[in-house]
């Protein structure tokens, strides 16, 4: 693509991602409603999609308040960090063979870096609020995200090993014969769980568990600043779904339909799956969350790493014979 084409595509991508995240707020409530045998928001417009506009108007017209006891500079900075980091993460996603913003040899590491930078948003938001609930929420999220980041990166190394590259386009191309969800089923499982924990959604939303921490790290936030946190969370959900599609379900690959449509369909199915998880699984206790991460998930990823290494060596050996 030409320079101008890339810039145009990047801007379109930002618009699509933010728009998608906004629609997702309504879609999620509707879908949960259907699965839980109730209606959900269905009053405004066809199927209730006008709810998105109503919510946005409400958030925009709310008083943009900064608590006098807070650390003003950090308080305002925190919600923007997550949105910027998540949007940057989209830059390395290959949507179709020629449709991407950036194809670098470290694409996968870039994505991991951006998700780890998104932690600061929650952390600094909790710290700057100068509120005990917010502080506890921030502390929890720091511990949760650092723990789950450890095996999030490790769970993807199997994919990298089989492909021999960190470039996401190369990873998709390497799945022509077999999607990685088959040989890397352990990696998929662990990455899925780490992905939910990283975007701190239910059932892993302990940083903002409302029955024990009022609203956790964003207790003091309202109006547009709160909306930024929510936007970041939904962007994170879309980004994780895009990454799982790219890494484990063959990205744009598929018969008959155009590549971009295949990519969108797979991502959409994964988003629906995440919403279903939210409706189906209760929130664990905090120590259960930590135990799951360190005692089960980490050994599982290490096992996957060893098995994949053996497999890769075996394949390499056969090729030479």
């Amino acid at each position: 693509m030409s320079e101008l084409g890339t810039v145009t595509f990047g801007l379109l991508l930002i618009a699509a991602a933010v728009g998608g995240a906004a629609v997702l707020t309504w879609f999620e409530r509707r879908l949960l409603g259907i699965w839980q045998d109730r209606y959900g928001p269905d009053r405004l417009g066809p199927l209730g999609i006008g709810q998105v506009v109503a919510d946005m108007l409400k958030l925009l017209t709310k008083d943009d308040w900064v608590p006098p006891f807070s650390d003003r500079f950090v308080f305002v900075f925190a919600p923007t960090a997550i949105v910027v980091a998540m949007l940057l993460g989209f830059a390395v996603v290959p949507f179709a063979p020629q449709l991407y913003v950036l194809d670098i040899n470290i694409g996968l590491l870039f994505f991991l870096g951006m998700t780890s930078l998104a932690v600061y948003s929650v952390l600094l938001g909790g710290l700057a609020s100068n509120n005990k609930y917010a502080l506890l929420g921030g502390l929890r999220s720091a511990a949760q995200m650092v723990s789950y980041e450890v095996f999030m990166g490790l769970s993807l190394m199997g994919v990298v090993m089989l492909t021999g590259s960190f470039s996401l386009r190369a990873i998709v191309e390497a799945q022509r014969d077999l999607w990685y969800c088959v040989p890397q089923v352990l990696g998929l499982f662990t990455f899925l769980i780490a992905g939910i924990a990283e975007s701190h959604r239910l059932p892993f939303d302990l940083p903002e568990a409302e029955h024990e921490l009022t609203a956790g790290f964003h207790t003091e936030y309202g109006g547009m600043k709160f909306a930024m946190f929510m936007l970041g969370e939904y962007l994170g959900l879309i980004l994780i779904s895009c990454m799982i599609t790219t890494l484990f379900f063959g990205g744009w690959l598929g018969p008959w339909l155009p590549p971009l449509l295949w990519f969108c369909l797979k991502t959409f199915a994964l988003i629906c799956f995440f919403v279903l998880l939210r409706g189906a699984i209760p929130r664990p206790r905090y120590d259960q969350l930590m135990t799951l991460g360190w005692k089960y998930m980490l050994p599982l990823t290490l096992l996957n790493l060893v098995l994949t290494g053996a497999l890769a060596l075996l394949l390499e050996g056969q090729r030479h014979v």
């Binding site: 950090v74 470290i106 870096g113 780890s116 502390l139 720091a142 650092v146």
Partner: protein
């Protein structure tokens, strides 16, 4: 173009580091330090070491600094901590460190004058980093792993008391 980007990132790194040193508020100082690390990552990228740049973001900015912020949140330093910090940042405390740092800078400049470093346009891809780490530098990797193992055992030893005490209460 590349040079402009390089000097821009270098300027950001220097300013952010200076700010990180002089802020009395620990949280603000840490944010400046994170910005400085990100700027250094950009420098690595521009110098043709994308792998090092990615690790700088994932490990330093993304993990180690998070733990620093975590500690600051645990300690919850208020106005008294900031006052103490301001006390330590007085001008006369800067004299000796300033002289030492100036001497180091002078040495660095002299060294650079005698053998100027050629900026290579060659890109170092992740595979070559791995081959170098487990080829000529394998001893350094092993020593680092020993050090980390020792730290792990030490952390377990310190934390064990808490585990035992909790089981007593049950």
């Amino acid at each position: 173009m590349l040079e402009t980007l390089f000097y821009g990132a270098a300027l950001i790194a220097l300013t952010a580091t200076a700010a990180a040193l002089t802020r009395a508020n620990a949280a603000h100082a840490l944010i400046y330090l994170i910005v400085s690390l990100l700027a250094v990552a950009v420098l690595f990228f521009l110098l043709g070491a994308p792998f090092a740049a990615a690790l700088e973001i994932v490990i330093y900015a993304g993990a180690i600094m998070v733990l620093f912020v975590f500690v600051i949140m645990m300690l919850n330093v208020g106005e008294s901590g900031r006052a103490q910090e301001r006390e330590w940042l007085r001008a006369r405390h800067w004299i000796v460190p300033g002289i030492l740092a100036a001497a180091l800078l002078l040495e660095l400049l002299l060294a650079l004058r005698h053998n100027p470093v050629a900026t290579s346009a060659m890109e170092v891809d992740p595979k070559r980093v791995g081959l170098a780490l487990f080829g000529p530098y394998v001893l350094a990797v092993e020593i680092a792993s020993l050090l980390l193992l020792a730290a792990l055992v030490g952390a377990y030893h310190l934390g064990r008391h808490f585990i035992v005490r909790r089981e007593d209460q049950r």
